[in-house]
């Protein structure tokens, strides 16, 4: 589970060697869209050589090419990676990926970026090998003949549908990266990702990582409120009560517990305890 997944182009040495310092929770070394067709072989060797000698401290994924899985997997053997990102995910490409995995227990994140993938999303999400769904917004928009808007209305259904599937099968929901360069648009897009309920978001620029990590970490105000709810429940055993005029029942209690779990995972609980001292 991560808050930020930073894409790192597979054929640019200086970006590979600096990737670790940007504090993304996870790195995705890209052999697909960030690499031209003529450079695929070079990128494969570069990513292999880099990961063999400089394994990053955070979980490393490799985005493979759905139409060149065998070639990509030929260089992944023995690498210290956490998993692979499968672009153009579908039941068919997932089956091909499984053949290549050949028993390797790598995590698989399915990149959902075609209209047909949404028609088989439940099957993708419930596959025991799939640990998360990533929305591929740029490709999907193009396939839908849609255009980016400030409100994000063109991707609202896709985001919501992907979240439903991820939540239904208990896997990670990861939002599409913000592909434009304006800060205001990025901030709006990030708020939308958090509000909808995504666990994490992809980043295509290192500058996007710190705000992204901050946004997916529960605020101290929300942590305090969740603590009070959970503590009241633990002290009284009540599952339905009023706290500062707010009605608390089982769903609110569960939400508070989940928030505290997230805060603990991202070490935000310690900060709250420090503040109280």
């Amino acid at each position: 589970m991560a808050r930020s997944y930073l894409f790192v182009p597979g054929n640019v040495p200086r970006m590979l060697q600096h990737a670790e310092v940007f504090e993304a929770d996870a790195l995705i070394f890209d052999l697909e869209d960030a690499v031209s067709l003529e450079e695929k072989d070079e990128a494969r060797q570069l990513v292999r050589s880099f990961l063999q000698t400089h394994p990053p401290s955070q979980p490393a994924y490799v985005r493979v090419n759905a139409d060149a899985l065998a070639r990509d997997f030929s260089i992944l053997d023995g690498l210290p990676i956490h998993g692979v990102v499968l672009p153009k995910a579908s039941i068919q490409t997932l089956a091909s990926l499984r053949e290549q995995l050949d028993g390797e227990e790598w995590s698989v994140l399915a990149l959902v970026e075609t209209p047909s993938a949404f028609l088989e999303l439940s099957d993708l999400a419930r596959d025991p090998g799939v640990d998360g769904l990533i929305l591929g917004g740029v490709d999907l928009r193009a396939a839908l003949h849609a255009h980016p808007t400030e409100s994000g209305i063109e991707l609202l259904y896709a985001r919501s549908r992907l979240l439903m599937a991820a939540r239904a099968y208990g896997i990670e929901a990861i939002d599409t990266p913000y592909a434009e360069s304006d800060d205001a648009g990025f901030e709006t897009d990030l708020k939308r990702s958090v509000a909808l309920g995504f666990d994490a978001k992809c980043a295509i620029h290192p500058n996007q990582v710190p705000p992204l990590n901050a946004a997916f970490t529960p605020s101290q105000e929300r942590i305090r409120e969740a603590r009070r709810i959970v503590e009241r429940h633990e002290q009284t055993g009540e599952v339905r009560f009023s706290l500062d005029g707010r009605m608390v029942d089982r769903p609110v209690l569960e939400e508070a517990k989940q928030l505290l779990e997230r805060a603990k995972r991202y070490k935000a609980l310690k900060k709250e305890a420090d503040d109280a001292d």
């Binding site: 640019v12 040495p13 200086r14 060697q17 072989d41 070079e42 494969r44 060797q45 570069l46 292999r48 050589s49 880099f50 063999q52 000698t53 400089h54």
Partner: protein, 88 residues
Amino acid sequence: MKETVTTGSLESSDCLIRLEPSEQLEIDLETDVHEAFYEHIHTLISDTLEEMGVQSVYVRCKDQGALDFTIRARLIAAIERYRELHDG
């Protein structure tokens, strides 16, 4: 030249590798880094060629401050391209 293969780039932290047919093993290294690293890079290229079973080729490496992992990767990719070109 048709029989030449090239990998890498002249971007910072990268290197440009060119392989050409030769009757013997020749390594032509150009780098701005300290002399001590010159020897290190030369040995790295030589070791990688030996590891890949290459006995005769002309290697031109223009280093732009690349780390070992980059030089090795660019060279391996070049050898594979070279073999594909020459051996089919």
